[in-house]
């Protein structure tokens, strides 16, 4: 299992424990952490988060991402990670 440290996303700071099988967006939703999203398919860029620590597997997306940015709908953790909202 991997630990997702949620750092102040929509007012929530907590640790989630996940198997790494579902997208970070799905895991956040399952734990009632509200996060902006729309298409769920890596096109719209609504769910951009900042990856502070750890590694994720990231599927292809149409959105240009800066270093350290991930789309919650297109990424799965492959180690313990820490995420926060895009600054």
């Amino acid at each position: 299992m991997f630990k997702i440290d949620v750092d102040n996303i929509n007012g929530k700071t907590e640790s989630l424990y996940v198997y790494g099988e579902d997208s970070i967006l799905t895991e956040l939703e399952a734990n009632n952490v509200l996060v902006n999203h729309s298409c769920r398919q890596g096109h719209c860029g609504s769910c951009i988060l900042k990856l502070v620590k750890g590694d994720v597997v990231h599927q292809e997306c149409l959105v240009p991402l800066s270093q350290g940015e991930i789309l919650a709908c297109q990424s799965r953790p492959v180690s313990d990670i820490k995420i926060t909202t895009k600054i």
């Binding site: 997208s23 729309s38 769920r40 890596g42 590694d55 994720v56 149409l62």
Partner: protein, 378 residues
């Protein structure tokens, strides 16, 4: 002015606005003002599918076993989607192509509308498979008051924009007599109509479609009508792309990255847009009542569908940087995400490029201070 299918004026498309600039002449994709539309087209082309690829033969057996109220939900839902895709299969081309000014956006609009026609074809494929007289289902659409009401609300913005742009393209700006009425055509009001039309399309693809998707997937969650759900899943994948297209256009306009007039219009129309979202949510709630008038089905009823409508309306408004209008809640239909995540659309490896990658896993810059390789010797 009069419209020409091949504008002979030499222009720089990198300096044109998205709409109402010089008409596109050469369809060139070596340069793009807004690369996103080129990416959307490429993505849509990579999504190409045909309804015949999906086997819906088991759905006929399943359909026969559905309760009468469930048959009403299933068929009405499909009829509504037929209406939406009939509109979307033709209207982006008719409304937007005559006024578009960027080749990459022109190409995206054509590709977008074409994919909607595949959706329309897939409804015929499903209905042919599940009922003995498919004609009756189609004939009923134009006789069902609840569906016709929706048709009016989804097409009225398109109709107005088409009427005004046609008058403009034939006669230019000014006052014109059309059908015994005086139309006052000026560029600012045309742009305003365009903004509201794109917003109405966004609402159609981002909210109205999702009510139907929820119903289709609710059947498949019970392991019935799964062929239909597989097709709807492919349609949902396309629609997510389309709504990104309209969201992107609207955000470019509002952020002042396109036409300065459009930024002013976006601010001016904010109250009207909020009302459009409210109206659409209310109309879809009425539709939910109609769907479930004879009873609910396992996993879904009018109440939950209405909660989902409020949830999805908030999500779509946030994507356009607008304040949500309903109380913010978590998703009342969490199982829907399994059907809407692109990850779950299975493709054979030989049919697709594997593009998964590890973010920050590869570091191309190595210098003497990197300790990872300090023990390494040749």
């Amino acid at each position: 002015m009069s419209y020409s299918i091949f504008n002979q004026k030499i222009n720089d498309t990198l300096k044109e606005p998205m709409f109402f600039g010089d008409a596109v002449n050469v369809a060139r994709f070596d340069q793009q003002k807004f690369e996103m539309f080129e990416k959307l087209t490429e993505k849509q082309l990579s999504f190409f599918w045909r309804p015949e690829e999906i086997d819906v033969s088991k759905d006929k057996i399943d359909f026969g076993k559905l309760l009468p109220n469930e048959k009403h939900i299933f068929i009405s839902n499909l009829q509504y989607q037929i209406l939406l895709d009939s509109v979307q299969g033709r209207s982006p081309n008719i409304a937007f192509l005559p006024i578009v000014s960027l080749p990459e956006l022109e190409n995206w609009i054509e590709t977008w509308a074409f994919s909607e026609t595949i959706h329309s074809r897939s409804y015929t494929h499903i209905i042919r498979a599940i009922v003995n007289e498919p004609g009756a289902v189609f004939d009923e659409i134009m006789k069902t008051e609840e569906i016709i009401q929706r048709a009016t609300s989804v097409s009225k913005h398109y109709d107005k924009l088409i009427k005004h742009t046609q008058a403009y393209l034939l006669n230019g700006e000014g006052e014109h007599q059309i059908d015994g009425k005086t139309l006052n055509i000026n560029m600012y009001s045309l742009k305003r109509l365009l903004y509201l039309t794109i917003m109405s399309v966004n609402i159609l693809e981002a909210i109205r479609f999702y009510v139907s998707f929820a119903c289709s997937f609710a059947f498949a969650e019970r392991k019935v009508m799964e062929g239909n759900a597989k097709i709807i899943k492919l349609i949902a994948r396309d629609e997510a792309l389309h709504l990104t297209g309209t969201q992107h256009m609207l955000n470019l306009m509002r952020d002042g990255k396109d036409d300065p007039d459009m930024q002013a219009i976006a601010i001016e129309c904010e109250a009207e847009v909020i009302q459009m979202f409210k109206d659409a949510a209310n109309q879809e709630k009425e539709w939910a009542e109609y769907l479930f008038r004879d009873g609910s089905m396992i996993g879904l009823n009018a109440q939950i569908l209405k909660q989902y409508l409020e949830y999805i309306t908030n999500i779509r408004m946030s994507a356009l940087n607008m304040q949500p209008i309903f109380e913010q809640t978590t998703n009342p239909l969490p199982w829907l995400n399994h059907w809407l995540d692109s990850d779950n659309v299975q493709v054979a490896p030989q049919e697709t490029e594997i593009t998964s990658y590890l973010v920050s896993a590869i570091d191309n810059t190595i210098d003497s201070e990197d300790e990872d390789f300090s023990d390494f010797k040749l």
